[in-house]
């Protein structure tokens, strides 16, 4: 068990280093010059030079890379040249918003997607099935940013039911930060009103983010359910007189859940990636927005940082999925 954990840990570290190398190389293929941006429009060449040397941008690329990797090993992700803050601080500040959003969206995707997938598999070719199939294909095909805009237009502007963007109305003081999740923190603080407003801000972005995920979970679960329902052991269970309900909800679902779990893991990473679009549309102060604004300013340390963080979350998610796999599937359990 110990060696297993150590091995796992080593792969995680290895992958993270790999991602760091990859993103560093990628973001440095063409030289942008963020120093100019922060130096201001009128800055003279020597002022730009000051900033360059302060951030080590005047060093040869190889040296910059060596320094970056050295710092990285000691947990330092470098400094954002735009915000002048350590990237790690910035990430810690913005990550909770993203994580909260992604988790809510994921939950939404799972609690809607799995039962719907199950239903449409059971009533294959029925009206429910047709509806969910349209839903699932649309979900994957619809541009998230466009859907976001349309929903904003309808629910916020036309109907005025939900706020347009942001995490909280600005006059609302956020609850004391404990977990970083506004929903949980406001509940912990016993502030239902804040909870409700935070939730109302969450709804649109979470729906937009979860839609494609919901769709693919639904799709996988449906396909798996159909396949499992035709499998020999389900036939056997039927032949042995086990009730259809039990067969579907317990026997088949558990088997279908395995590939669904894999999809959930996959989609988790994907969702983290799409936050760059959704957070832009909804002005959600998370790492996606941070990445976009940094990328647009050619400020690459934060971009690398965000990529690393997303990669890290993704690995964590996949590890969790693996654990869940082992928990569900006795064949994978170790002695």
């Amino acid at each position: 068990m110990l060696s297993f954990t150590v091995r796992k840990l080593l792969t995680v570290v290895g992958t993270m280093l790999g991602i760091a190398v990859l993103t560093f190389v990628i973001t440095n293929v063409a030289p942008g010059d963020p120093a100019r941006l922060v130096a201001g429009p009128n800055a003279t060449e020597d002022m730009v030079e000051t900033i360059r040397s302060e951030y080590g941008l005047d060093q040869p690329m190889v040296t910059q890379f060596a320094i970056y990797m050295k710092d990285l090993v000691s947990g330092d992700l470098g400094t954002s040249i735009v915000s002048t803050r350590p990237v790690l601080d910035d990430l810690l500040r913005y990550a909770p918003a993203t994580i909260e959003l992604v988790l809510v969206a994921m939950t939404l995707g799972v609690i809607v997607g799995v039962p719907l997938g199950m239903l449409s598999a059971v009533y294959k070719d029925g009206p429910v099935d047709h509806f969910t199939r349209i839903l699932s294909i649309s979900g994957v095909a619809i541009p998230a940013f466009w859907l976001g805009i349309l929903l904003q237009l309808y629910f916020s502007v036309d109907l005025g039911w939900l706020p347009v963007s942001g995490r909280l109305p600005l006059v609302t003081r956020p609850p004391e930060m404990i977990t970083g999740s506004l929903l949980i923190d406001s509940l912990l603080a016993g502030n239902l009103k804040t909870f409700n407003t935070a939730l109302s801000h969450m709804i649109l972005p979470a729906v937009v983010l979860s839609f494609p995920c919901l769709a693919s979970i639904l799709r996988v679960n449906r396909a798996e359910m159909i396949e499992v329902l035709q499998s020999d052991f389900i036939v056997a269970a039927r032949a042995h007189g086990i009730s259809s309900r039990r067969i579907v909800v317990i026997y088949a679902l558990k088997n279908a859940l395995l590939p669904t779990l894999a999809m959930i893991g996959l989609r988790f990473g994907w969702m983290l990636g799409s936050t760059v679009l959704v957070e832009t549309v909804f002005d959600w102060p998370g790492i996606g927005l941070y990445a976009v604004s940094s990328a647009l300013a050619s400020d690459f340390k934060p971009v690398i940082g965000v990529t690393l963080l997303i990669g890290f979350f993704f690995i964590i998610a996949n590890t969790l999925v693996d654990l869940a796999y082992a928990w569900i599937d006795p064949r994978l359990r170790r002695a």
């Binding site: 036939v235 039927r238 042995h240 007189g241 086990i242 088997n255």
Partner: protein
């Protein structure tokens, strides 16, 4: 005698397919009385499974009953609603399935699956649920009854932790948990080892006697039917062509098909009339070396998943003389296929040497290896997967020619047609795809492919075990013909002792990767030296002798 327990009258069933409806069952008439054991035999695809599944109400989804009815215990169950089925399925009629590997849910423990069935039955019977503990006790009891060791600890184990035979016992236990009036067993032993087959058959037989069950058992193995069933029915192309007391049917088959079937069963007791092919062959090729193939201390280690090592073949020595048929027998997993693959260098031996026609081929790579492969060919166990589904038969047969020779396209075409002729397939087949051919035809294609380059040695890895008995007989006979025609030397692998006895000159017996006995085939059969060999022959006899005994 009162009314039969199960009565099938003029039952006709169609299955809708792309090409229109297929008449899978045509006017089936069958009745089973309480306490009867009925066996159904018939070739693959004759409709046995569809028939018994219809009795259970779990037939193919796109099927339509065209006529007739099925009556169970006086009740018409042809068009029963789900509620009605709930009272019958699994409780009054229950079923044991063909392949124990796929009929158990891999994610639930064995005990859980069995006690679920019990709970379902209690609910259906309206008895109200018994406690979990009570169910557990009964489950353990049942597991004990089907002869499983250590039933209490088995309760919490998962299917993958059990061997095939154990799983089949679990399935039997599950089928018995509802104390059914009628038990249907669909080829309960085909997926199992020879030795295990016999045990499971014994178990079913003893249960039938002990619990006074009414049983329908399907098999294409006439021996198995003869062991268990006192009545039997023969199915052919969706029809029941013959039924009656098993002994009668076997002794005096009425229908042409039955006769054919019976004559195709290889007889382990029969002393074969061997033609002296080997000698003739050597005569024709006096310059050929006496020993064509030799294996010296061959050894193969596999890495297991847990990181350890597993010896699939250890220290095997053998020598095959030119022109002989060299037999390899052994139970499943004894390393036969691994050995064969090593002989051909399809997998690398961990150590040891293979000498072919005086040349050590162990170290060969690249071009020399390719050249040597012209002379030794392989016929695989499963013809269904040995052909690439995307190539036409013509492509498949022509492939070795294209790879190994410089023949022009037209020459290849001509040769392919000639080869198809040799294996007795119409020339037009070269435009067909494998899935359009029957198993026997596919195996012929494989053989055509193997002999395309005029090899000297053919290694046949259970060439008939995936085929029906009647087809098997044809293929065996055909192989003999080809051998005579091409001066071939065979290494013939099989777990079917009767087949081995019929055609092999010399034989080795393998157990867990080692040769436990070798020598003249007849000698091994008449006076086996090892316990293992004896047991192997004995269990082979069990199924086979019963057939012949009752027939004679």
């Amino acid at each position: 005698m009162s009314a039969p327990l199960l009565d099938i009258k003029d039952y006709t069933l169609d299955i809708a397919t792309f090409d229109g409806p297929v008449h899978v069952l045509k006017g089936i008439n069958l009745s089973v009385n309480r306490g009867d054991t009925l066996g159904i035999v018939g070739e693959s695809g004759s409709g046995k499974t569809v028939l018994v599944r219809s009795v259970m109400g779990i037939g193919p989804s796109n099927s339509a009953v065209e006529g007739g009815q099925i009556t169970f215990d006086g009740q018409d169950i042809t068009r029963l609603d789900p509620k009605g089925w709930a009272r019958i399925r699994g409780i009054r009629i229950s079923m044991i399935f063909q392949d124990p590997m796929t009929y158990l849910n891999p994610l639930f423990s064995i005990g859980q699956q069995i006690s679920d069935v019990m709970a379902a039955h209690e609910r259906a019977a309206g008895e109200g649920g018994s406690t979990k503990g009570a169910r557990r006790a009964r489950t353990v009891d049942l597991l004990d009854q089907v002869g499983l060791p250590n039933p209490a600890s088995l309760y919490d184990q998962y299917p993958h932790q059990l061997s095939g035979g154990m799983r089949q016992r679990v399935l039997i236990a599950m089928a018995l948990s509802g104390k059914p009036d009628l038990l249907i067993a669909d080829e309960p032993t085909t997926a199992l080892d020879v030795t295990v087959q016999a045990q499971v058959l014994d178990l079913i037989k003893s249960l039938v006697d002990k619990l006074n069950l009414t049983v329908i058992m399907i098999s294409h193995d006439i021996g198995a039917i003869a062991t268990i069933a006192d009545r039997c029915a023969v199915m052919y192309k969706g029809e029941i062509v013959e039924q009656g007391r098993t002994a009668d049917v076997l002794r005096e088959p009425q229908h042409e098909y039955t006769r054919q079937l019976l004559s195709a069963v290889p007889d382990i007791e029969a002393k074969p009339a061997r033609t002296a092919v080997a000698a003739a062959c050597r005569e024709r090729q006096p310059d050929a070396p006496a020993t064509l193939l030799e294996a010296i201390n061959l050894k193969k280690l596999f890495k297991t998943q847990s990181g350890g090592e597993f010896s699939a073949v250890s220290d095997v020595n053998l020598s095959v003389a030119t022109g002989e048929i060299f037999g390899v027998v052994g139970e499943s997993g004894s390393g036969k296929s691994t050995l064969a693959r090593m002989l051909l260098r399809l997998i690398e031996p961990t150590s040891g040497n293979v000498v072919f026609a005086g040349q050590n081929i162990t170290g060969l790579t690249g071009e020399p290896l390719r050249q040597i492969r012209r002379h030794m060919q392989f016929v695989f166990q499963n013809p269904h997967s040995a052909l690439n589904g995307r190539h036409t038969i013509g492509d498949a047969v022509g492939e070795p020619l294209r790879i190994q020779t410089r023949m022009s396209r037209r020459e290849v075409e001509a040769k392919v047609e000639a080869l198809l002729d040799i294996v007795q397939l119409p020339k037009l087949f070269k435009y067909r795809y494998p899935h359009e051919l029957s198993g026997g035809q596919k195996q012929r294609v494989c053989i055509a492919r193997a002999i395309a380059l005029n090899p000297r040695l053919l290694i046949l890895d259970e060439p008939t075990s995936a085929l029906d008995i009647s087809v098997q007989a044809q293929i065996l006979e055909f192989l003999q013909q080809v051998r005579a025609e091409f001066n071939l030397t065979y290494v013939f692998i099989s777990h079917d002792l009767a087949v081995i006895r019929q055609i092999c000159d010399r034989t080795i017996v393998m157990k867990r990767g080692e040769i436990v006995e070798h020598g003249n085939t007849e000698q091994i059969f008449t006076s086996p030296r090892q316990e293992y060999t004896k047991a192997l022959i004995e269990s082979g006899r069990k199924t086979s002798r019963a057939a012949t005994l009752q027939a004679s």
